[in-house]
Amino acid sequence: MASTVGTGALTPDRSRAREARGRLAGPALVAPFALFYIVFLLGPLIYTFVAGFFNGSLLRDGFGSWVGFSNYADVLNDSEFWRTLKHTLWFTVLTTIPLVLLALGLAILADRFVRGRWFIRFAFFAPYVIPSASVSLIFMWGVLADQTGLAQDWLKALGVNSPPSWLGDPNWAMWSLAGVTVWWTIGFNFVLYLAGLQEIPRDVHEAAAMDGAGPWQRIRHVVIPMLGRTTTLVTVLQIVASLKVFDQIYMMTAGGPDGSTRPTLQYIVDTGFTDGRTGYASVVSLFLFLVILLISLVWFFLVRRAEKES
């Protein structure tokens, strides 16, 4: 790791040589990362764009034959694509709302206590570090299983005679998956909010209290407005994460029952890797990318403007 430039006094000659090297030093330091970036991010992005104009297949080499915009037309007319997109958006709504509001509420409450905070933080954050495979095993076979699951057992104990089949009933499956996701990922948002709360200066609390504001009023009129930036960040990160949902749905319902929970990312895997239609799947990928980009940008600018106006 030692540099080739020696130590010692600088002669004019050496400093000129160093300057020339200096001009290359910046690009050289960035180069290793840039190489990975170009090979595994930029290149694939361009490939995806180009591949969409061909009817490529996993089974043969190369792009396949040129088909122009017909993949685009086919995807737009593909009812299954729209159905999976609808599932993806619905999942995003079902998860983002509780994952923002509940995380905010719990963080505000937790911020009032110092002793025992490690326990609260552990309880909410521990699920976040667990692999989705463990989460799926626990919920699919333990908590949400038919007949043997904890959730049905508790409901029966409460006097509900025929509790729903959480993952097997199309009316309940998406709600169950959303619930599991809230359990699994709330810790991340919770910690972001705790950090945001730390940044609120103490004297703001004190000033509000001096004015006679009770705890509830201080939360409503001081704390929540001051967390605006954090809320924007949490919401955008959450929307983007939820639009990319795959793991837990794939493992717990495999998109079922009857395809009622299949998200767009799984549709890409199914058309691209199971059916081997890489050109078609590329176009679906581009559309999903566009949706993610658009929704996060629109949300971002809306919030920016709202923040400026207030």
Partner: protein, 300 residues
């Protein structure tokens, strides 16, 4: 656990609001009541959040015949580790642990080195198009890896890296957020420190390795933990790249356990627990660093 059982009176030290409590008797009572309710709600949610983990653990140590009689019960009179022993003896679990560890370690080292070098170049060295390069890299945050899996898969297939460690590792190395975290941190290092090293004749690499990296431990550990956890938990990418059971990472292996028909309930829960334990330990050890890391990546 014992901590919360002490009840509100013991735990409800209202640290942040204490000073803010108004002097009036009524205000003080409202504050106290609010704290009690807050603590109650918080502890109720925290316990609810722990139920699935505790339940899975409870099931995993119950003997099969007891489970058959009452599957949803928490209690057992003869706890047993039979399910765990079976998984280690008959399954491929040791392979999956080793694979996950190797893959996560390789990715983490490559990411930390390349991202910190790039961030150092972008933060401390003046060169043409520096800002342009930074913006281009930053734009990569917008690109979800998941929509690039088809070309990445085809490329790895082309060069014969399917079912290898490198096939899992390489596409996960370009982590734009890591560059961003390092650059934020490096920007805060006093310029005099860098200039002094440069004036002493240290080259850029030596400045990076001997001056910048040693003072950047918080950033290095935050990125290390984050990349490690993310790679350890990644499911979709290794699912596509690895089909050989002995090359699978833990999440993909666990999923194959679940697919195998007729696995006993206790073993399923034991696999879930075994999948969760390594990262729970990491989290317990580095709780503060992880929390600081999230706060740092997200907000500053």
């Amino acid at each position: 656990m014992a901590h919360t059982k002490e009840g509100p009176a013991a735990t409800a030290a209202p640290a942040r609001t204490e000073a803010a409590a108004p002097a009036t008797r009524r205000g003080y009572d409202a504050e106290k009541l609010f704290n009690r309710v807050a603590l109650g709600v918080l502890v109720a949610f925290a316990l609810l959040w722990l139920v699935p983990l505790l339940f899975a653990t409870a099931i995993s140590i119950r003997p099969a015949d007891e489970i058959a009689v009452d599957p949803a019960s928490w209690f057992t009179s003869n706890p047993t580790f039979a399910a765990y022993e079976d998984l280690f003896d008959k399954g491929k679990l040791p392979y999956w642990y080793a694979n996950s560890f190797i893959v996560s370690l390789l990715t983490t080292v490559l990411t930390v080195v390349t991202a910190s070098l790039a961030a150092f170049g972008l933060s401390q060295v003046r060169f043409r198009f520096r800002r342009g390069v930074f913006l281009l890299l930053l734009a990569g945050i917008m690109i979800p890896m998941q929509v690039l899996m088809i070309p990445q898969f085809l490329a790895l297939q082309e060069v014969g890296l399917l079912n290898t460690y490198w096939g899992v590792v390489l596409p996960q190395v370009p982590n734009v957020v890591a560059v961003f975290v390092f650059k934020q941190f490096f920007d805060g290092i006093p310029r005099e420190l860098i200039e002094a090293a440069r004036a002493d004749g240290a080259g850029w690499l030596r400045t990076y390795w001997q001056i910048v990296m040693p003072v950047s431990r918080p950033a290095v550990s935050a990125v290390t933990i984050f990349v490690f956890v993310a790679v350890w938990n990644n499911f979709l990418w290794p699912l596509l790249v690895v089909t050989d059971p002995e090359m699978m990472t833990l999440p993909v292996g666990l999923n194959s356990v679940q697919d195998a028909f007729g696995i006993p309930y206790a073993q399923l829960m034991a696999s879930a627990v075994l999948g969760a334990i390594p990262l729970l330990v990491v989290f317990a050890l580095f709780q503060r660093r992880i929390v600081e890391g999230i706060a740092g990546t997200g907000l500053k």
